[in-house]
Symmetry: C2
Subunit: 221 residues, 2 copies
């Protein structure tokens, strides 16, 4: 990629004050990317942006989406549909990255995929075909991503357009992780479901943020 394009591109992280969102925003900002933190209120977004530094800005989710080229959605599943409907007028022709895992409390250790097949397909249904959707980052432990530690987890990236996936595979690598092309958006069901499995495994084996690594694969790490 051209580094000028990289730095001029604006990335909004919606739900950017949450655990996963703040970790993604931090890694992208530290890598020199132009980041807008989105949150329900402009005030909390601005506070988070100020705390982050690196010229990050904070805005309400809709304004953040309006001002960005890539919109990363990191809200809880309970806020998924409302957030997507709120940003829908502002993301036509843009790339939306959905990180949402359809956890349904209280049984978060049990796979409960939505009727559309996956949260990612639900996002596509809500935003329509004019929006390019990629999903990923489902299996990364947010409390590890917020640190400077190496992340011992591959990032499966799903999407129906290879070029769009490639942009997010590159972002994952910029954030210090191995991004893997994992197929169509429908395949997002695998990583979304795996998150409940990992929560179960963390509890059963007293693991601190279990992840997955693909084996027998030879890619640049």
């Amino acid at each position: 990629m051209n580094s000028f394009e990289n730095t001029s591109e604006v990335i909004a992280v919606l739900g950017g004050t949450g655990n996963l969102g703040s970790a993604i925003a931090r890694r992208l900002a530290m890598a020199g990317r132009n980041v807008i933190i989105g949150s329900r209120t402009a005030e909390s977004a601005e506070n988070a942006a100020q705390a982050l530094g690196h010229n990050a800005r904070g805005m309400a989710n809709a304004d953040a989406a309006r001002g960005a080229d890539i919109v990363i959605v990191t809200v809880p599943f309970s806020a998924h549909e409302a957030t997507l409907r709120e940003i829908a007028p502002h993301v036509a022709g843009k790339l939306v990255v959905d990180t949402t895992v359809p956890l349904v409390p209280p049984k978060v250790m049990r796979v409960q995929l939505p009727k559309e097949g996956s949260a990612a397909q639900r996002a596509q249904a809500i935003l329509g075909e004019g929006v390019s959707i990629v999903s990923g980052f489902h299996n990364v432990a947010a409390h590890k991503l917020i640190t400077d530690e190496e992340i011992d987890c591959d990032v499966l990236i799903f999407g129906d357009e290879k070029a769009a996936r490639e942009r997010i595979v590159a972002l994952a690598e910029l954030m210090g992780m191995r991004g893997i092309h994992a197929g169509a958006l429908a395949n997002s069901a695998a990583a979304e479901a795996l998150t409940s499995v990992l929560i179960f495994i963390n509890k059963t084996y007293s693991a601190d943020g279990a992840g997955i690594r693909l084996t027998r694969l030879h890619t640049a790490e």
Copy 2:
């Protein structure tokens, strides 16, 4: 486990002349377990058993299920329902291990989970609540399992009963793999879906049997 119980227990591998089934039967027989290979016809099952040796026997699927304590189902998804209906009269109170991945040709690289949520839940619906069902071995490359190579892939084991899961985690380890408790039978959707992702990854990265390893987990390997 008590080794006397181990060796007296009879394990049927239905679809045992197929790629995955023959590999599982071979590893179990070589580990000293009492194996029956099941197939659509007794003749092909007997031939496979004779080729395998280790006192393995061959029978038609229904007879194999009748004679076994543990029944491992390794048939293609297209034969899943018919095979389960055929063995249903013979597996009450037994442990059925479903390895079926709901691949729907020609789009086998695309996740297409059945309406029940997973093949494993479909098996439970067909066999009824009187049968204990565990699922696993979805992500292991059969052409590696048939060799004596070390398998660089963890085996996620799903089931609603912990004791039943534990028996199959132990079987996976007997076969030389790390078995992992991965939660309720509903969670089988994760590993079933992941198989389509792995097929995509094999093609995209020219990998020869990509698998997964859980990270940040400390179990006996």
